[in-house]
């Protein structure tokens, strides 16, 4: 096996470990940090089901963003829906057998990459064109967009320009999953694509990409508006009460 293959195998094990362990740790941290006061942004749902739907609408429709800014919503939505389809399409490189659903979404996934990159380009343009957004942008904000666009373009170049050896690639991926290692095809665009994906996985748990788990934990969105009917008290606040009431 070539040293290149060994390097990529090591890289992906490392990236997967960082992604899974890092995210698990972050989610555990959010989970165990109490929300001591009832702070849903009202009007808010008065039932748990209602609050679950509110968060679901934020995740599926970007409801608040839609109220807020139509341009960001359009670009952001295109990007994320594109990303979701592209990711689904990629399941075929991991999954054996190939479920008919995966075959069905294949063409949508391919064109979704254009949607994704277009959305990203729109978001990036805002970082230059809108003075307020320019003011708040840090280098990392630009680099994450660059990274995602580079992943998108290197991927599209394999789908639409210079095809890579998909059968061998799948062998490589399944090999890593089953510990029966296979060599990695050596097309430059594939190597670039995979390297950048690993990088994205590594930065995920330490960057603003934490908005993905964060949206589920935001107390202003996931709390039920029922403070007069239900006493909401954090463990540390209850301890304070025992000490000095």
């Amino acid at each position: 096996m070539s040293s290149l293959t060994v390097f990529y195998i090591g890289l992906f094990y490392f990236a997967t470990f960082v992604l899974v362990a890092g995210l698990t740790y972050r989610i555990y941290e959010y989970w165990k940090t109490p929300a001591p006061l009832s702070i849903p942004t009202t009007p808010a749902p008065t039932t748990r089901t209602g609050a679950v739907f509110r968060v679901a609408r934020e995740v599926a429709l970007f409801e608040s963003l839609f109220k807020s800014n139509k341009w960001i919503w359009v670009f952001g939505y295109l990007f994320h829906i594109g990303l979701a389809l592209v990711l689904l399409r990629h399941v075929r490189y991991f999954s054996e057998p190939l479920y008919s659903f995966l075959v069905f979404i294949q063409p949508f996934g391919e064109y979704a990459s254009f949607v994704m990159v277009a959305g990203l380009a729109g978001l990036w343009a805002r970082r230059f064109l809108v003075d307020r957004v320019r003011y708040i942008s840090t280098p990392s904000d630009h680099l994450i967009l660059a990274l995602l666009i580079a992943i998108g373009i290197s991927g599209m170049s394999m789908t639409f320009v210079a095809h890579t050896d998909i059968v061998n690639l799948k062998g490589f991926v399944r090999g890593m999953m089953t510990l029966d290692f296979q060599p990695l095809p050596t097309d430059a665009n594939l190597l670039v694509h995979l390297f950048l994906v690993a990088l994205l996985m590594i930065i995920f748990p330490v960057s603003k990409l934490l908005h993905a788990p964060g949206v589920f934990f935001s107390p202003t969105r996931n709390q039920v508006d029922n403070p007069r009917e239900k006493r909401h008290i954090a463990p540390w606040a209850a301890a304070l009460e025992r000490d000095n009431s």
């Binding site: 109490p34 957004v133 003011y135 840090t138």
Partner: protein
């Protein structure tokens, strides 16, 4: 009125988003708190030698106590959706008044000390060391946020800059950089029981005087009882209601309503303040200590029901936090909560807002009005931010918008709402909330009121509106002071129960 030392913004038909002007409001510095009040709050009163470590430690403590802060520090994607939502940005153009930039003042420190990339590659992720200059910036810009939560409505993750401002002020207090206005008010509540520092006997005199006024005016002996043990209802209202104008007009309105309903009710001289400035500085213990006075008074007087007067932040605390802080509400099954719950009448929401109370009476046909008495007024309603985005009235989400409007329509003939993007959950702050209502921040107050003034001016021009009704003591104080800068008369500002007071028919007994 002495001429302002700053340029009053020009009103326009819609509030336009300005081009950013860096540093435009960097000079706004609220007066620092002095020794006496800070000591009574348990904070240092000048910058401590170990300010750096103290600040970072406090931040670390807050991050494990408050999930909101923790998630908000990480989740922001710098999308920019909130950048044009803050009235202080719209009125001043200072980019640090954009919600996300206000958050970033803290986030850059958070990243530097609490995240891996911030420790290794600070320049890449906008992380910075905590310096004295950072603290000065915090002091300046965390006192240009009225914790109105408008930004939170529009952020895709609900990031609430108010929570960050509160944490920022708490850290500033911890290192000895408190703000005079809020610090002194909280100290007054600790010592005397209300924000105005009005002692029991003075309160009694005031109430007697008001009783005489009402009787002279209406011929009916409406009472304003104080410290009546065994009364059914305890009315807790912002102390400004006792003698600020136009607040007192609403106070008279509450008394008339309670009188017409034949209620047994009382004020408390011990709990003579519904307001709770503990909220503004985000200190849980302070907020709890202030709120406990109401629990204690309720237990002492043996009341069965607690009603809160017209005040925005007070209603948020009463509605959303009293149950947590003091067990005043339902659902607690610990001895502390049960003690109070046993005493309260379970048929009613605890606490209730005075508007909930009045609206219920109106629906049941208990109150009679002569609406024509309000005919000289063409009325609009300003949704106060804490009521709009931090609380509720009635059973349905959004009751906080419909109930006060329903009351106005029941007592007056001429009502017009302001533009939809400036009311309801989208309401613009008066510009004076959360400890900004102080003369040393007049420029911030006047400029922050711009979006509201534009919306008010639009209905004044188009519909002839000449009265802005509201249900918040801070909004009332802020607007009466600020509307003259925009060419309106302060008599155009008043309470919802002021309108009720004008139109209510009292029976001679």
């Amino acid at each position: 009125m002495a001429g302002p030392e700053f340029e009053v913004p020009k009103m326009s038909e819609y509030t336009e988003v300005p081009k950013i002007k860096e540093g435009a409001m960097a000079h706004a510095k609220s007066f620092p708190a002095a020794e006496a009040s800070q000591t009574s709050l348990g904070f240092p009163w000048k910058l401590t030698d170990d300010w750096h470590d103290r600040a970072i430690n406090r931040m670390g403590e807050l991050l494990v106590k408050y999930r909101g802060l923790r998630v908000f520090m990480d989740a922001c994607v710098h999308c920019g959706a909130c950048t044009d939502k803050c009235h202080y940005f719209l009125g001043t153009a200072d980019p640090k008044n954009m919600p996300v930039a206000r958050q970033d003042l803290m986030r850059k420190v958070y990243r530097r000390y609490f995240t891996l990339p911030g420790k290794i590659v600070p320049w890449l992720v906008g992380a910075e060391d905590l310096t004295k200059e950072t603290l000065d910036d915090w002091y300046s810009y965390y006192h240009q946020c009225s914790e109105c939560r408008r930004c939170s409505v529009y952020c895709p993750y609900g990031i609430d800059t108010a929570e960050i401002t509160m944490a920022g002020r708490e850290i500033l207090n911890t290192v000895g950089m408190g703000q005079k206005y809020t610090s002194e008010i909280i100290a007054k509540v600790f010592k005397i029981g209300n924000n105005l520092g009005l002692p029991g006997p003075a309160l009694e005199d005031t109430l007697l005087g008001l009783e005489e006024d009402i009787e002279a005016d209406t011929g009916v002996a409406v009472k304003l009882p104080l410290d009546v043990k065994g009364a059914e209802i305890l009315l807790v209202t912002p102390s400004a209601d006792f003698f600020s104008e136009p607040h007192v007009e609403s106070l008279i309105g509450y008394a008339k309503v309670l009188h017409a309903a034949g209620a047994s009710w009382t004020f408390s001289s011990y709990a003579s303040e519904a307001g709770n400035f503990g909220l503004f500085n985000g200190n849980y213990e302070t907020m709890r200590k202030v709120a406990m006075r109401i629990r204690d008074a309720a237990l002492e007087l043996g009341v069965k029901r607690i009603i809160v007067g017209e005040c925005g932040h007070a209603w948020r605390i009463a509605y959303a936090f009293w149950n947590t802080l003091t067990g005043l509400g339902y659902g607690g099954n610990d001895p502390f909560s049960i003690e109070l719950q046993k005493q309260l009448d379970p048929r009613y929401k605890q606490p209730s807002h005075i508007c909930e109370y009045t609206w219920d009476l109106i629906q049941r046909g208990v109150l009679k009005f002569d609406k024509s008495l309000n005919d000289d007024r063409v009325i609009t309603f300003h949704d106060s931010c804490n009521v709009a985005r931090g609380s509720r009235m009635g059973d349905e989400p959004g009751g906080q918008f419909t109930i006060p409007r329903n009351i106005i329509r029941a007592v007056a003939n001429n009502f017009h709402d302001m533009a939809p993007e400036t009311i309801g959950e989208a309401t613009f702050c008066c510009g004076g909330g959360a400890g900004i209502l102080t003369d040393d921040l007049m420029e911030v107050r006047v400029k922050g009121a711009l979006p509201r003034m534009n919306a008010y001016n639009a209905v004044a021009q188009e519909k002839g509106v000449n009265f802005m009704a509201l249900i918040c003591a801070i909004c009332k104080a802020q607007f009466t002071k600020v509307v003259p800068y925009y060419g309106f008369d302060m008599s155009q500002i008043g309470g919802v129960h002021q309108l009720v007071s004008t139109a209510i028919k009292l029976e001679q007994d």
